[in-house]
């Protein structure tokens, strides 16, 4: 169905209530302002009310998995909580960051290693998103362990790409402010090694200059 027809249907008085109730679901499909080209630009410019929590954030605390607890102990020291709310996604500045089991692409993140503009960002996957009793949201991530020795990308710094071995490291806790952006990745075989090529999708920060 053409989007104009669907948009027209939603505006008609005789539109069935069941369809009208689903208008928010259709919004992305039928609203020309956020459809098709430059979708990401529009969401970037849209007025947002800060970070968004999913509905599951309203639920109760549940015991943490052992690897997440150990990572929290490293992060907090002895005061690490034993229970927290487990979230499947978290939205920051209109970008949705998910856990790896929910959406691998949305779980692929570059994490700033320092607050300076030219600081390196390392690729990682979000494995867990937790909200502690003090309402702090934390991300449990696994970094790629090792860069490929014959990485061809450093000679093209503007591309902001790099190549890593597929192995992921231990769980590490990071705060949402440390997450720079998503990255796109492609698993490839290089010199007999299983690697992943990572390309930054940041559209503001340019550490190459």
């Amino acid at each position: 169905m053409r989007s104009a027809n669907l948009r027209g249907l939603l505006l008609k008085a005789e539109c069935p209530p069941a369809i009208k109730n689903c208008s928010s679901i259709f919004e992305k499909l039928v609203d020309p302002d956020i459809r098709s080209t430059l979708l990401s630009d529009i969401t970037e410019f849209a007025i947002t009310n800060g970070d968004e929590l999913p509905e599951e954030a309203l639920g109760g605390l549940s015991p943490l998995k052992e690897p997440v607890y150990r990572a929290l102990c490293t992060f907090f020291g002895n005061s690490a909580p034993r229970a927290a709310k487990s979230l499947s996604y978290f939205t920051i500045n209109a970008r949705t960051f998910s856990i790896m089991s929910r959406h691998k692409g949305n779980s692929s993140v570059l994490i700033r290693q320092a607050a300076t503009p030219k600081a390196e960002s390392l690729p990682a996957h979000i494995e867990e998103i937790i909200q502690t009793s003090s309402k702090d949201v934390l991300f449990a991530v696994r970094y790629y362990k090792k860069r490929v020795a014959s990485d061809p990308f450093p000679q093209y710094p503007v591309l902001r790409s790099s190549m890593w071995l597929l192995d992921l490291g231990q769980l590490v806790i990071v705060r949402p402010k440390d997450i720079e952006c998503h990255f796109a990745s492609l698993a490839i075989n290089r010199d007999g090694l299983a690697c992943v090529a990572v390309i930054s999708l940041a559209r503001v920060r340019a550490p190459f200059i």
Binding site: P32, T37, L38, L39, S108, V158, A184, I188, A206
Partner: protein, 230 residues
């Protein structure tokens, strides 16, 4: 206004370099529209299908190059060029096979293409500075020089010339997002897609909606944060 930069004198888009034996070979190997061979196109399509991307990233047709997917939109071209092509082309063309003329030319084409991609990345960043504008000009100039060398018969278009002036506007007006005309393109698309009664000037059920939408868009645009030159 003097911005302290001049267009590189070595770029003369109107003048084609003299034909040499090497250029003749280049022309025969890289005719316009026939740079990638079938295997490379298949590899590129496989990469497009296998790449892991976040849900907000504009999708690219997996059968890229087939007429069935229709024309790519501007944002799809940008995404293809800045996300998919760098990885695929570097994988395909980075290594030069000894004694292979095509491999050597493909490597030169890779370098040239990466100059263009770098220029696009810098130009479409949401932050800019005089240094970034200079870097943009460097990459765009290198790209045009590379094309002139690799495909001597290629006729440059006015857009190629205009691309060499873009750095001035980055310096004068800041990031392109605050002054490019894509919002107006979107508005045109919106108006084109609105159903009408095909009776110009006569009030139809969607005419009021038409005006409301325009007001809504103008208001929305006024809310956008302004972007300044960093």
């Amino acid at each position: 206004m003097h911005l302290g930069l001049k267009l590189p004198a070595c770029i003369d888009l109107q003048q084609c370099p003299q034909r040499t034996a090497q250029n003749e070979n280049s022309t025969s190997a890289f005719k316009r529209g026939h740079i990638l061979n079938e295997d490379e196109v298949d590899a590129l399509r496989a990469d497009i299908q296998n790449m892991t991307t976040p849900s907000w990233l504009t999708s690219i047709p997996g059968n890229l190059g087939q007429p069935s997917h229709g024309k790519l939109k501007a944002d799809q071209w940008r995404t293809l060029g800045t996300v998919y092509l760098p990885i695929s082309l570097i994988r395909l063309w980075e290594k030069v096979v000894p004694n292979s003329d095509r491999s050597s030319r493909c490597h030169k084409m890779l370098i040239t293409t990466l100059h263009l991609i770098s220029a696009v990345i810098i130009a479409s960043l949401r932050s800019t500075s005089r240094e970034k504008a200079k870097l943009y000009l460097h990459h765009m100039s290198e790209y045009l020089k590379g094309i002139r060398e690799l495909i001597p018969d290629y006729k440059f278009r006015p857009n190629h010339h205009m691309a060499l002036h873009l750095w001035e506007y980055l310096c004068l007006y800041g990031p392109v997002h605050s002054w490019w005309t894509f919002p107006f393109e979107r508005l045109i698309g919106l108006l084109q897609r609105l159903p009408t009664n095909f009776k110009p000037g006569k009030c139809g059920p969607y005419r009021a909606l038409h005006h409301i939408l325009i007001i809504f868009i103008v208001k929305d645009n006024l809310k956008k944060p302004s972007h300044t030159l960093l």
